[in-house]
Amino acid sequence: MSAFSPLHPQRKEGTQSAISSRLVTHHLSNGIRILLLPSRKFRRRSIMLTCRLRLGSQTAAQALVPAVLVRGSSRVPETLQLRALLDSLYGASLTGAASKLGNAHLLHLRLGCVSDRILPEPIWDKALGLWAEVLREPLIDGDGFHAGYLEEERRSISSELQGIFNNKTEYAQIRMLEAMFEGDPYCQTAYGTIEQLDQTGPQEVAAAYHELLAQAPITVAASGDMDADDMIRQIERLFGDLPGRAGDPYQPPQERPKSTVRRVEEFQPVDQSKLVMGYQVGRHAGDQDRLAARVANAVLGRYPHSLLFRHVREEASLAYYAASQLDLFKGLLIVHSGIDPTKQLAAQQIIEQQVEAVRHGDFSDDELEMTKRALLNELAAQTDRPEAVLGQAYDLDLLGEPYRPELERAALGAISRQDVQRAFSDIALDTVYFMSRPQEAKP
């Protein structure tokens, strides 16, 4: 690393940037957790509430909660009226979403808007008020949410689930997960399944909403130009009255029995075949090998200089893409590739060889060094993306650990070839999914 860069005359190694951002954490007395990243370098402010439930039979009902909340509140019941208000607040965005973190089901309600200091008039208080209002004073119709909005959101999510097949890459990955995690609620998407949606009535959605308010772990994360104490007071004012709630200690993913490799083959009229392979890593998010596992995954397939891209695409010309991704909250590694339909066996063989190469430490010093540098670059660049910092801080908070990027930096630098090998020493292929054109229809 250079000690001094002429492109950055004011920056020297080890000195803090003039506009530094530091994470502030706080807990309200009712157990609600607060993560703040105050920084003047950003022009936007955002605040996001994340509530943690479990994936299961109610996944679809739970995912409908944020979708319905952002349609209107008791005071602003019409969506048209609500969106007009947001437009007039210089395009403030109010969004609801759901995601998976291992077998936890996260529901998000997010507000983003331009900082008051840039605008000709202040808007934050109004925008924050709207955000809190859709959550705390939703549009209720009898004993449930507004039936019309609920039906519209149910239909919209259902069409989106139906439409996943339009994106063959995403579809192939979901089909692989369905096979690999059959019987585990993780096999569903964060929005459940079409069948679940069909069976979800207003009572189930109302029940999920009440669980959110009454007992589910909640984290509120905010970033941008703000005073931390002031923001904590605002969050306390909005949520301090909610009932107390316990934390939800991290549980490692369940060990899965290793058996023979599952194989799923699907025929579809596609030009490019999709090969997706699911591996059990034998390491998880709370594991001491987690950082080494991230390095191992990156050596394998995170970058264009990783083994998969080099060997499967560049040398063998077998694929347009070949990459791997790691989900330590599920102890899962996925390799996905888009290949020539006649090259399935060759591609699978080369992919398996690359996983073995990482496991046996069969990669060069340069490859390890480049990978670590790339990860360090990502870690440093993360400070420019508040949502990424807050996302990582959230994951660590769930593990009961503080966000300490400087420690991670040092630990990453110290990862050795032996660490990488150890992290993959228990890796095992679990499921292979292959989608291709039926034999007779090959062009």
Binding site: R83, G91, G112, I118, S156, S159, E160, N166, P304, D384
Partner: protein, 418 residues
């Protein structure tokens, strides 16, 4: 070097044109850890002719994209490796107007920038390398053929335009890339990769003088004029009103495109068109909410205006369970608004929304660099947007509704083949 300031967002822009003809723009974002650099060549899929001896010769579709793929190959191996050794992330892309090479780095920025400016000047194009790349590109083209939005969009451009090269796929076809040779790529590199035909945009907490000095060292000599672009004579009317594509989909796609009979890349007109499309089809419009209520659209529905030299269009659509019904409802909605005109207060609100989006751009270095480069290649100045948004009148926006006539429209539908 010219300085521009946007005090409200604490941003300075420095602009200079070097002796070689290279244009350098540095956007200084204080406090950002990352330096993002984008080197754009005004050479995209639209450039279907290469200048030769005062004239022009046709080249196969997909040549610019092929050259982008091959440029990472150097005499001593892969040019990407150098970025990897420096710990930077890097990429490249080709679109209708441009080929761009980029990196993002939090250290060794100077070495990265030097490498970016150097490797694009030294192609290493061999017959064997070109043949190997063809296999990868064919895989890429096949992947796009399986993407319904991609197919719909290309079919739409094909239906709207008779001759303009925007109707061709960016990557070309399996047949056209079969014709591409190392000699051709060398010829195109010589013709298009000239500093007078390139722009460098750097975003980050950097010293603009140092950036310009480095670019000056990398490109010391002038190298002749930019090849320019002559759009072919294009009829004002559409080529065909409807186009259907059958492929493997689980939900159909409907898109309606409106061809602008008098296209212009003038920023004022483009901004007015964008506001009109947002007012009519955006997620806070009556029409959007009505279509959503009817279950005809999902969050993916939207409209965009797309303009370049010799062409301009507005496209609206997305995935839908019932393309026929969606089409009818869209025409009904367009008819109603064309009779009543746009709601004045709504246009005022959207003006604010777009100003907010403009300021938000300065938190995202990548998006800022891309917006800047794309606009600069069209002779537009991003910094003029706030004033423009403030000064555009409702009647100017209203006037753009004239675009939305059935005579200027093509409809593209993608349905399941089985």
């Amino acid at each position: 070097m010219i300085e521009q300031r946007l005090a409200r967002v604490d941003l300075r822009h420095y602009h200079s044109q070097l002796r070689s003809g290279l244009t350098v723009s540095t956007l200084v974002l204080p406090g950002f850890a990352k330096t993002y650099a984008l080197l754009g060549v005004r050479y995209g899929s639209m450039d279907t002719q290469v200048p030769v001896d005062g004239g022009r010769r046709a080249i196969p579709a997909g040549t610019a994209h092929f050259l982008e793929h091959r440029l990472f190959e150097s005499k001593d191996g892969n040019a990407m490796d150098r970025f990897a050794v420096l710990g930077a992330s890097y990429n490249a892309f080709t679109d209708y107007f441009q080929t761009a090479y980029l990196f993002s780095a939090t250290s060794e920025e100077e070495a990265c920038l030097d490498h970016l400016l150097t490797f694009v000047q030294h192609p290493y194009l061999t017959a064997a390398g070109v043949d190997k790349e063809r296999g990868i590109i064919v895989q890429e083209l096949r992947m796009y053929q399986d993407m319904p939005e991609h197919r719909s969009w290309n079919a739409l451009l094909n239906a709207l335009y008779h001759y303009h090269p925007v109707r061709q796929e960016i990557g070309g076809s399996e047949e056209s890339v079969a014709e591409i040779t190392a000699e051709l790529l060398i010829e195109c590199h010589r013709a298009f990769y000239r500093p007078s035909n390139m722009r460098l945009v750097v975003v980050g907490d950097v010293d603009p003088q140092a950036v310009a000095a480095l670019a000056e060292r990398a490109f010391p000599e002038p190298s002749g004029p930019a090849p320019g672009f002559q759009p072919p004579a294009e009829p004002t009317g559409i080529r065909q009103p409807r186009v259907d594509t059958a492929m493997a989909v689980s939900v159909p796609i409907l898109e309606i495109g409106f061809k602008d009979p008098e296209p212009s890349t003038e920023l004022r007109q483009e901004t007015a068109t964008g506001l009109m499309a947002e007012a009519l089809f955006g997620e806070s419009s009556d029409l959007y909410l009505e279509l959503y209520r009817l279950g005809l659209i999902t969050d993916g529905f939207g409209a965009q205006s797309f303009t370049g030299p010799g062409f301009g269009l507005v496209a609206v659509g997305g995935e839908t369970v019932d393309p026929q019904r969606l089409e009818e409802e869209l025409w009904r909605g367009i008819d109603t608004i064309r009779k009543s005109g746009l709601d004045r207060t709504r246009v005022e609100r959207l003006r604010r929304r777009q100003i907010g989006q403009f300021w938000g751009l300065f938190d995202r270095p990548e998006a800022l660099a891309h917006a800047w480069l794309g606009m600069a290649f069209h002779g537009q100045d991003l910094f003029q947007l706030p004033d423009l948004l403030a000064s555009i009148s409702v009647s100017e926006v209203d006037h753009r509704l004239e675009l939305l006539t059935p005579a200027q429209a093509s409809v593209s539908v993608v349905r399941d083949a089985s």
